[in-house]
Symmetry: C2
């Protein structure tokens, strides 16, 4: 559908494009504008924006990425801008303002209503990773002495502008959060009973400064659609809706993927991040890990005599290092992920370690047997076959142990377990496997080295 | 709060425990039962279950893990079981039945209502990864000729049992999905207008056999709370709610983490998976990657003369292999994740590759300089310093290229890009770096080898 609209537009068939777009979802319409911006079709974009029904134009505007929004803001008149801004939910508004350059922000704020201007200034002050930064002020609230039918009147009167009306919040005269009542409760209740009689007082809520990752976890634990947010004095100041919580979950997952591959998480999507920034995000860990690998390399210098005498030994190093690294990252990945989902607690430490050791023994015996027979058959060298097989068992056990100990240790020290992932574990395992390998070799094959 | 209840229970202070539990969220109550099961407190568990208000007992039952549910089913009477089963949402019911051993399933089905029994049999037939497997039949539907006030009567009459009532579905006499109307629309409409007048006909829906990962993406793209599901004849057969879509998202993320660390995804949480199963999930990739690393090792045999002559060369191998592996996994991780989130498309291939090459050049120049000066200062050996530095630049460029080409190639071939992650890329990069290293060494240092 999106492609069809773009085709009509490039053929200047505006009427046909309008007919399709009228029935499209605002999210898809936003994508049309993003495509037009990528192809630098500013004029077509503006023309299309003005062709569309006003409400759809405003709704799709909220879904566009910030570059596309900026392009449109710069093209439209102050009156058009006012209409869009009045229609925007406050959380989308705040997100947009955060991404814009100063001159655009000035123009946007000049055209915002005074009330919105004040609220945006307040909302912009919450730290980036806090519950406050996710909040919106579009929610329905009333006092507990209202009857159910009065409550419905409040919803009808104010509801059209509210992001979600299905959970309503009950407050006292100082805006302290007293209870919640869902529209379902209200629909199923006697119209003359008071809200106080049917509200649930066992309210799950967040504080403005709570970590947004924890907030997302509350949503998925309790299957909620929206979560009220209170300030230090327990007064209701906003709500967070599930769509924003889902976005946080996905962002946190992406951050974990990035950290676990030895990168500093980036703020933007890949294609929008500059080469210089990408390189900067990656170089830090590359240098740290390279320096550690240099130490491993230096350790090998003391075995130069052995290497000269039996250079065949060196040909097993890639296999030993590779297998050790793979085993370590398997363990660390599964344990970091388990802790992120609260499926593994610190108190499970010994259970986890014992499990990993048994898994390591099972895996390493299989791997060792494959190696033993391969070396025996290919080189007819029993000594080397035994050396490599024993090293493999030791390496796998060390790798699996490090892979479970280090992430849990990091958590214990209140560090992010994700930094103890594959790259770090691999580097440590490399050092261990080389030490073990040459020491076993010197002991078993001493006479030949 | 959970700990307090457990303390009261172990002191046999049932009254106090009951007072706290009465005001607890069903999710937290379920956790109390899970803790009791882990400590094998079957009697206390049963006693507590019978102490609780019936509705809370039934609600918390739905949130328990399947082992805990099974323990309770085995302890309670048929009448108690009937009450719980009648209260359960159909999707939770189906999930539960899927996890139980046959004898428990028999007893559960015997105590289910006839209607539920038939529906469960139907729902169990959808494949595990399909939209159908996530469906529930608890939704509100009516015909388009109803007035708004009649619609509210339908909601009031049937709504108490429905998982979500906020989006209502409009069907024709053959159950074809004709439109949706939200409670918000109904509340804000004239009570005498018909549903057909205010419904939205531009409905986003899924088919029963759609992949559940795609369904989860639809939820997050369109910020939906529930999604209708139709069968092959476009008849409405169920809905999926956002809580289940969020669970799918998190499962898919966990699967990607596991695959990207070279593991076969496991169906259960870590602590519940047996050592044997864990080992089985991990050994396949370990063996494949070990065999590949053996080939790399064998390639080194042809350089045995060089190694004997200048064993110092070997000490750079861990650093070269490690850095290559790290660079490759950085690239592959960011690209696999970008494709999973639809932020990177196959058509972006050249843009991505060109970006990675530039990032590789920036990173490798920094890494090479560090190495060059370190080797020059430590060994005063210009030839070796140049050899290592050049190898590093080549290795990083190869690693970053493989890290972007292979996942995108996998996607092009309709394979899961996640298998082209760190372990695979690292193994390939290892081979490349060793080949490059010895070839540059032989060319530059030929006279000394």
């Amino acid at each position: 559908m999106i492609d069809k609209v773009l085709d009509f537009l490039s053929d200047k068939k505006y009427h046909e494009a309008k007919q399709i777009i009228k029935n499209m979802n605002a999210v898809d319409v936003a994508e049309v504008f993003e495509e037009l911006r990528e192809n630098s079709e500013r004029d077509i974009s503006l023309k299309l924006f003005r062709l569309m029904p006003k409400e759809l134009a405003a709704e799709s505007f909220a879904y566009m990425d910030s570059d596309t929004q900026q392009g449109i803001i710069e093209a439209i008149s102050d009156n058009e801008l006012k209409y869009i801004l009045d229609d925007m939910y406050l959380d989308d508004f705040v997100d947009m303002v955060e991404e814009m350059p100063a001159n655009v922000v000035m123009r946007v704020l000049k055209n915002a209503s005074q009330r919105n201007r004040a609220l945006i200034n307040q909302y912009l002050q919450y730290p980036d990773d806090s519950a406050g930064s996710l909040m919106t002020n579009e929610y329905v609230y009333f006092k507990s002495r209202l009857t159910v039918s009065q409550a419905f009147n409040v919803i009808r009167k104010t509801g059209v502008d509210k992001e979600t009306i299905y959970t309503c919040y009950v407050i006292d005269s100082e805006r302290h959060l007293k209870g919640v009542v869902t529209v379902k409760d209200l629909l199923l209740a006697d119209p003359d009973t008071t809200v106080g009689n049917i509200m649930s007082t066992n309210v799950i809520y967040a504080h403005t400064l709570d970590d947004k990752e924890e907030v997302a976890k509350v949503f998925s634990r309790y299957d909620m659609l929206s979560l009220p947010v209170v300030d230090k004095e327990d007064r209701l100041v906003g709500i967070i809706t599930i769509d924003d919580a889902v976005d946080v979950m996905q962002e946190e997952n992406t951050e974990d993927f990035e950290k676990m591959a030895g990168m500093v998480p980036s703020e933007d999507t890949y294609l929008k991040t500059s080469v210089f920034k990408l390189a900067r995000n990656r170089i830090i860990w590359l240098v740290i890990l390279m320096l550690s690998a240099m130490i491993t390399g230096s350790m090998m210098e003391q075995y130069e005599a052995a290497i000269s005498a039996l250079p065949l030994l060196v040909s097993f190093i890639p296999m030993l290092m590779g297998t050790g690294g793979n085993c370590g990252s398997q363990a660390s990945t599964i344990i970091i992920r388990g802790m992120a989902l609260d499926e593994i607690e610190l108190s499970d430490f010994f259970k986890v370690w014992f499990k990993e050791i048994r898994v390591a023994l099972l895996c390493s015996v299989v791997l060792s047997l494959v190696n033993f027979f391969r070396i025996w058959i290919q080189y007819q060298d029993l000594g080397v076959a035994v050396t490599v097989s024993l090293t493999l068992i030791a390496t796998v056990c060390i790798a699996k142990s490090l892979g479970c100990i280090l992430p849990m240790l990091a958590k214990k020290l209140h560090l992010d377990p994700a930094i103890m992932a594959s790259p770090m574990i691999t580097t440590l395992t490399d050092a261990a496997s080389i030490l073990v390998f040459f020491n076993i070799a010197i002991n078993l094959l001493g006479s030949r080295l």
